[in-house]
Assembly symmetry: C2
Homo-oligomer: 451 residues x 2
C-alpha cells in the first residue's frame, strides 16, 4: 500500500462502500475531503429515512418525503461516484467485489454496510400473507393492504350486507411493531371517521402479538410497561407471551387459537444481509459480522463492517440495529481511513448512546434519554421530542419542510395526505376472492344502494 500516502496522489486509494443507508452514506460524506476515490454501490437509487418508513405505510407521508437519491446527496462531492448495482460476491484476497451486472470493482478499503432484512424464521411461505417493512415498496404494499381492507369491507357491506371483521394483526412488539399498531389504530379511529357510510372503521381491532413477555423488549421495563399501557388506550390489543405458529391467507395461528386477520403485518425478525457471510469472517446467529473496536472483521484490517450488518458489543451489550450506531460508525470509518492516510493509529470506536425512542399513535411516545441528561420520558413530551429529533435528522432541507408540512396538516385536519391504493386490488384471504367475477352478477338479485 505504498501508494496510500503517495504525495502526488497519482493513484489515490479506492474506497468501495456497499450500501447507501445511514452507515454507508455517512462514511461517504466523511471521506469527501480525503485523497481517496470513493465508490458507493447500492442496488437502489435512493437512501431512505428508515425511522419514518412506517408513516409511509400508513399514508401520512409520501415515499419521496423520506427518500433522496444517493447521487443527489453526494452530487457535489467530486471524489465520489455512485453506482446503482448489486454486489454479489466479495474476493477479500483479490480485493475485489463482483457486481450483478458482470463487472468487478477493485478496492483498497471495503466498507460493508448493507444492513439487515426481515426474517420469517425459516417460514418464508408466510411472506405473501404478512408483508414486512424495510423498503419503499414494502411500505406501499402495506399501505395498499390496510387501505384496501376498509374499501373492500364497505363494498361487501353494500353488496352483500356483511363484511369480515376488520382485524389487523401485527406480529412482533419491537419499535416497528408498536409504531405500526399505533398508527393503524389511529387511522381507523380518527382519520376515516367520516369517510364510510356502511362500516365503522373505529370498530376495527388491532392486535399486536409479541412472543416475549413485554413489548419494546430492548427498552427499560418502566417504558415498556408505559408503551403497553399507551397501546391499550389506543384500543390496540396487546398479547405478550404469544408465539405465532402459522400465517395463511386471512388468518394467524397462535398455539391452538386462530385469529382472523384481514391484514397481517410482520415486524418480528431480522436477519443480516447475505453479504456478511461472504467475507469468510465469523458471524453471529443472524449473519451479522463480528467486528472489533475498529469495525474490522477478524483478520481483515482493510474491510469495515458497519450499521445493522455489524455485531459489536460494548459495555456488555450488543449495539442495537437503529440509526444512531450506524451514523456514528459511518463517521468513524472516515476518521480511521484519514488516520491511515496520515500514518497515525486508528482511533477505536466508542458508541455514544444518546438514547432511543418509539412513538405510539398520534400524541404519545416513550423515550429513553441518555444525553444530554438521563431520563425516561413518555407521553406528549416524549412525542414532541420524537417529532423534533426526527425532523432535525431528516436528510435534506426539502424533506424537512415537506414532512413538517404533512405532519401539521395531518394532525390538525385529521386527513392523511397519501391515501393512495396502487397496484393489485385484492387481499389474500379476502372472502370475495373465492368466487369473484362478473358471472355472479346474474345469479344475485341486484342490491339497492343505501339499503
Amino acid at each position: 500500500m505504498a501508494n496510500v500516502t503517495n504525495p502526488l496522489r497519482r493513484q489515490q486509494p479506492s474506497v468501495v462502500i456497499v450500501g447507501g443507508g445511514f452507515a454507508g452514506l455517512n462514511a461517504a460524506k466523511g471521506l469527501a475531503k480525503l485523497p481517496v476515490r470513493v465508490t458507493v454501490v447500492d442496488r437502489r437509487n435512493h437512501n431512505i429515512f428508515q425511522p419514518l418508513l412506517y408513516q409511509v405505510a400508513l399514508a401520512v407521508l409520501s415515499p419521496a418525503n423520506i427518500a433522496q437519491p444517493i447521487r443527489t446527496v453526494l452530487r457535489h462531492q467530486r471524489n465520489t461516484q455512485v453506482l446503482m448495482d448489486e454486489v454479489v460476491g466479495i474476493d477479500v484476497a483479490g480485493r475485489c467485489v463482483a457486481l450483478a451486472s458482470g463487472a468487478g470493482l477493485l478496492y483498497d478499503y471495503l466498507v460493508l454496510a448493507t444492513g439487515a432484512t426481515h426474517s420469517y424464521f425459516g417460514h418464508d411461505d408466510w411472506a405473501p400473507f404478512a408483508p414486512a417493512l424495510k423498503t419503499i415498496e414494502d411500505a406501499i404494499e402495506i399501505r395498499r393492504r390496510v387501505l384496501l381492507a376498509f374499501e373492500l369491507a364497505e363494498r361487501q357491506m353494500v353488496e352483500h350486507g356483511w363484511h369480515p371483521p376488520l382485524n389487523f394483526v401485527v406480529v412482533g412488539g419491537g419499535p416497528t411493531g408498536v409504531e405500526l399498531a399505533g398508527a393503524i389504530a389511529d387511522i381507523a379511529q380518527l382519520y376515516m371517521r367520516h369517510d364510510f357510510r356502511h362500516i365503522d372503521p373505529a370498530k376495527s381491532r388491532v392486535i399486536l402479538l409479541e412472543a416475549s413477555q413485554q413489548v419494546l423488549g430492548t427498552y427499560p421495563r418502566d417504558l415498556s410497561a408505559k408503551a403497553h399501557h399507551a397501546l391499550g388506550r389506543l384500543g390496540v390489543e396487546v398479547r405478550v407471551n404469544t408465539q405465532v405458529t402459522g400465517i395463511g391467507p386471512g388468518w394467524v395461528q397462535t398455539g391452538d387459537q386462530r385469529i382472523n386477520a384481514v391484514v397481517t403485518l410482520w415486524a418480528a425478525g431480522v436477519q443480516a444481509s447475505p453479504l456478511g457471510r461472504m467475507l469468510g469472517a465469523p458471524v453471529d446467529r443472524r449473519g451479522c459480522v463480528l467486528v472489533d473496536d475498529h469495525l474490522n472483521p477478524q483478520g481483515l484490517p482493510k474491510v469495515f463492517v458497519l450499521g445493522d450488518l455489524a455485531h459489536l458489543e460494548q459495555n456488555g451489550h450488543q449495539l442495537p440495529g437503529v440509526a444512531q450506531p450506524a451514523i456514528q460508525m459511518g463517521h468513524h470509518v472516515a476518521r480511521m481511513i484519514a488516520a491511515d492516510l496520515a500514518g497515525r493509529d486508528r482511533p477505536a470506536f466508542r458508541y455514544f448512546d444518546k438514547g432511543d425512542m418509539a412513538t405510539i399513535g398520534r400524541m404519545d411516545a416513550v423515550a429513553k434519554v441518555e444525553w444530554p441528561f438521563k431520563a425516561h420520558i413518555s407521553g406528549f413530551l416524549a412525542w414532541i421530542t420524537w417529532l423534533t429529533i426526527h425532523i432535525f435528522f431528516l436528510i435534506g432541507f426539502r424533506n424537512r419542510l415537506s414532512v413538517f408540512a404533512a405532519w401539521v396538516w395531518n394532525y390538525i385536519t385529521f386527513t392523511r395526505g397519501a391515501r393512495l391504493i396502487t397496484g393489485d386490488q385484492r387481499l389474500p384471504g379476502w372472502p370475495d376472492e373465492v368466487a369473484p367475477g362478473p358471472a355472479r352478477a346474474e345469479e344475485e338479485a341486484p342490491s339497492n344502494p343505501f339499503k
Copy 2:
C-alpha cells in the same frame, strides 16, 4: 318514475355515477343538496389531477400531490356513498349496472364518466416497450424507466467503458407528448447536471415523433409553430409527418429508419372506455358515445355520458378530451337532474370554452385564451398563467400547498423532489440484459473505478 318527485322522499331516486374523474366527481358534488341517493363507483380509490400527471412521471411531484381519495373529497356529503369496484356490464332495460365483485346496482339515473385510455392502434404488443400515461401506476413506471436509463448508462460506463446512446423517444405530439418531451429535456439538461461522473445527461437526445404535419394539432397554427420552435430550443428533435410502424425493446421503427431508444413513451392514441359500447347506443370510431345537448345517448334519457367518454359536437367541433368540458358536463348533469326533480325542463349543455394550454419545459408554454379575452399567448407569460391556473384548480388546499412548495423548490434549486426508482431494475432492450449475472465477473478483468 312516480317516486322521483315524491315529497315524502321515502324512496329517493338513486343516481349511480361510474367514474370518479373530473366529470364524475363534479356531477357528484353538484348533487350534494338534492333529494337523491348518489353512488360513485370507481375501480380506483383516488381521483387524480390528470393535467399534472406528467410531472409525476418526471419526478417533479409525488403521486399523492395530485391525488385525493374520492371518499375523502365526498366525506361530508351525506347523501353520497363511494364504492371501489369495477362496472362490468350495463342493463339499460333493467336499469342496473353489474359490478366485478358480483353484485348489481339499481339506478334511476346513470352517469357514465369512465373516460378514455390509451390505444396502440391495434398494436398492443408495443405496450411493454412504450408505456403510456393515464394512471398513477403509469406515471411511476415512466419515472422508473427514465431515471433508470441514466443509472444504467452510468453503470455501463464504469463497468464496460461505453453506454448505448441516451435516446428518449416520445410518440405523439399532442399536449401530453409535448409536455413529456419538454420535461425529459429539462431533467436531462438541468436537473442532473452534477449527479453523474461518467456520463453527461445533457447529451441525451429527446425525439418527438408526430404523424401529422404539426405538433399540438388541435391548437391554432401560430401556437403550434411556437410550440415546435420552443421544443427545438430545449433540444427536443421534433419530427413531424413521421409515422411509427413498429416498436420493440430498445427501438422505434419509422418507415425504413430504426431509431435506437433507451426509453420510448406512448402519447399517440386514445380510445374510449369499453363501457360506452355497453349502452347499445351509437358510438364513434374510438368508442365514444354520441350524445345530444342533454348529454344523453340516443333514446336513453335517464343515462348521461360525459367527459372523455362522450362525443359531443358544438359549433361544428367535437369537444376536446380535456378537463374543462368534463368539469362543465359534471356540473350540468347535476343541474339537469335538479330540473327533473323540480318538474322543469332540462337546460341544454353549452360548452363555455375558456381556452387551452400546454407547457413546454421549465419556463415556456403556449395558451389559447378564449376567456376573459381572446388571445394567443406563449413564452414565460403563458407559463405563469399555466402555473396559476393549475394551482388554482387542484383539488384540495393541501395539494395546492404541497404542489406549490414542490414547484418553488424544483425551479429554484434544480432538484427534483421525487427521484425514486421503485420496482424492477431492468429496461426492456437494455444491452446488459442479454448476458447478465455474476458469471461474467470472472470472465472480465475487474475494472477500476474512475478509470
